[in-house]
């Protein structure tokens, strides 16, 4: 599978996750979200940017609790909940947000 942005084609796996993480740019995240019928706003980007920062340091997406805590610190306690994150990313914050952030899908019993 592949996704096209600005005339360039990017390889993805069967589930739409980017194959080469180095190819990621914000436009790709937006295009993936548009393809899913849910355009990204600045709240989504707060989460996506945090995921990318965390990934850069730890080579893995943050645990849900780590993510909610970080978002709570940044955007206020009322937003530091998994309920808020599920509102933003109804398919699950870990999986859906990772996809838009160009990160691999979290695997396992999650």
């Amino acid at each position: 599978m592949a996704i096209e942005v600005d005339g360039q084609s990017y390889e993805t796996d069967e589930e739409g996750y980017l194959e080469d993480l180095n190819q990621w740019r914000p436009e790709l995240g937006s295009a993936m979200a548009m393809a899913d019928g849910a355009p990204l706003d600045e709240n989504h980007w707060e989460v996506i940017n945090f995921l990318r920062e965390y990934y850069e340091e730890y080579q893995i997406a943050p645990a849900v609790r780590v993510l909610t805590k970080a978002i709570g610190k940044k955007l206020g306690k009322d937003k530091g909940t998994s309920k808020y994150l599920y509102e933003l990313f109804p398919y699950g914050p870990a999986k859906q947000a990772c996809k838009y952030a160009g990160l691999p899908k979290p695997t396992g019993c999650v």
């Binding site: 730890y58 645990a63 849900v64 609790r65 780590v66 695997t107 999650v110």
Partner: protein
């Protein structure tokens, strides 16, 4: 919750055996593993040219190696007792999801190549050539079995579809048609130590965060030790406990119990996974490699006991196979079970009156308990038959005021799978997962309406993730699933640190003096 283009089954007041709908789930199959996920596990990267020959040779090897498998294949009398016992049949109405029909996909091929009658007069005995169409059917329908073994409870011969499904998956992986979800995960666990691919620094950071959170909430410095040498207990828990909700609330519960017990404990970054997906694909070799990591970690860290966290099939592998896979464990303390379940650990402390609870902390919930299939039907806990049913319920009753069991046909030996077990907890099988949850959702609805149940507790990472995902499809909320040790965590009264203990003792002394 995502929008779907299939029908969500209707929840009825009591289970109804649905009318058959041929090929209702013929379209459902998980992604096939690519070469990069196949070869590290010792399998062909793609379907090999002589796949029929390889598959039949593998079938021969497996039926020779596992006497149980050949007995299961030979002994079915088509009595029909299993037909309505599978949650996937009840939820999908596809006749090939009747356990006997699923078994027959494999059995008919076995007959053709391994029995005299099948070799001579195949049509008379329902023997079937292994064609590409049959292989596709295997791939579709052996990935609609969660290996939960419910059917085997009702089979008069005890035929275990789980074992047949494991064998079929191993044959498929061998010829180059493995399943992506399982095989990618097994590769990660064999290299990074866990199914998530969580490296040590991320794990350490996550655990540090938990220490901060718990201390902030309780004022007590409960530790989450990692790679600490010379501890009594090595805790092996599913990596979902580090990552997901409500799993992590269970992990916090274990930590609080260890804290109160005074027993020193640690987790291992090398063996940071309890789950063993090698079992799901029927691969002894891959299952063994994962089990050996646990042995190596226990030796390296110098632990005396191994305790497993809340994970269903991990406990099956641990309870039933750990010793033969990775034993002998003669370096562990023989005074304790090898291995021990966290529920056994906690239950033991409760029965000795060593833990104090404020049950009212769980008064905002009315609980029921989902028996996880692998714990219920493939293992045991404690010293008595049925301990795997009584111990978790005893823990819930010790920590909660309000508990009701679901109807009898849906609990204990008869428990229904959550719908996502056996290596099927993947997004590409979401329709199957939603439909397969039907019998459990019906049972839950029953106690919701009759007893006011608000939450369901479980002791399996797969069950917890599966329910968080599928509960909303049936009108429930995703957070109605909780960990058993989350209930412990809520209710446990922690002993304050040394300063406060001294204060308390001083007060007690004063009291004595006054008296």
């Amino acid at each position: 919750m995502a929008k779907v283009d299939y029908e969500i089954p209707e929840l009825k007041e009591y289970p109804v055996i649905p009318k058959l709908k041929k090929d209702a789930m013929a379209h459902s199959a998980p992604y096939v593993a690519k070469e990069k996920f196949q070869t590290p596990l010792g399998y062909a990267g793609e379907l090999v040219d002589n796949w029929q020959e390889v598959a039949i040779a593998k079938m021969g090897e497996l039926t020779n190696k596992y006497r149980s498998l050949s007995v299961f294949l030979d002994s079915c009398v088509k009595c029909g007792a299993c037909t309505d016992k599978c949650h996937y049949y009840l939820g999908t109405t596809d006749p090939k999801n009747m356990p006997v029909a699923r078994q027959d996909l494999f059995r008919n091929v076995y007959r053709r190549y391994f029995t005299l009658a099948g070799k001579l007069v195949p049509k008379l005995v329902g023997a079937q050539d292994l064609t590409e169409e049959v292989l596709d059917d295997w791939y579709t329908y052996f990935h609609q079995c969660s290996q939960c073994r419910r059917c085997s409870v009702y089979c008069p011969y005890g035929i275990d579809t789980a074992e047949i499904s494991m064998a079929a998956r191993e044959v498929m992986a061998t010829v180059g048609k493995g399943q992506k979800y399982c095989n990618e995960i097994i590769g990660k666990a064999q290299t990074l130590g866990n199914n998530l691919g969580l490296p040590e620094p991320a794990l350490a950071d996550t655990l540090e965060g938990l220490e901060e959170d718990v201390e902030e909430e309780t004022g007590v410095a409960v530790k989450f030790p990692l790679d600490k040498k010379g501890c009594d207990v090595l805790l092996i828990t599913p990596s979902a406990d580090f990552f997901a909700e409500p799993h992590v609330d269970g992990l916090i519960g274990y930590a609080k119990v260890f804290h109160e017990s005074g027993v020193s404990w640690t987790m291992s970054s090398y063996a940071s996974e309890a789950a063993n997906f090698g079992m799901f694909i029927g691969s002894y070799e891959n299952m063994r490699k994962l089990a050996l990591r646990i042995r190596e970690a226990a030796i390296e860290l110098g632990c005396k006991r191994i305790v497993f966290g809340e994970c269903g099939h991990a406990w099956r592998v641990a309870y039933s196979f750990l010793n033969t896979l990775a034993g002998p464990f003669d370096f562990l303390d023989p005074a304790y079970p090898v291995p021990q379940h966290i529920c056994e650990f906690t239950h033991d402390l409760i029965s000795k009156d060593k833990l104090n609870f404020d049950k009212s902390e769980n008064d905002h919930m009315t609980l029921t308990f989902h028996d996880s299939c692998n714990v219920a039907r493939a293992s045991r806990m404690g010293d008595e038959a049925g301990g795997q049913f009584t111990l978790p319920r005893d823990i819930i009753n010790a920590t909660c005021n309000n508990f009701y069991d679901m109807p009898k046909h849906a609990i204990k030996e008869g428990t229904y799978c959550c719908g996502g077990g056996g290596g099927l907890l993947t997004d590409d099988l979401m329709e199957l997962r939603v439909k397969g949850a039907l019998p459990r959702m019906e049972a839950l609805k029953n106690v919701t309406e009759n007893n006011g149940v608000t939450h369901m507790a479980a002791i399996c990472a797969i069950c917890k993730s599966q329910f968080s995902k599928v509960l909303p499809y049936y009108g429930f909320e995703m957070d109605q699933i909780v960990s058993v040790h989350q209930l412990v965590s809520n209710a446990i009264i922690l002993t304050k640190d040394e300063d406060s203990v001294t204060d308390n003792e001083a007060e007690a002394d004063d009291a004595v003096a006054v008296a």
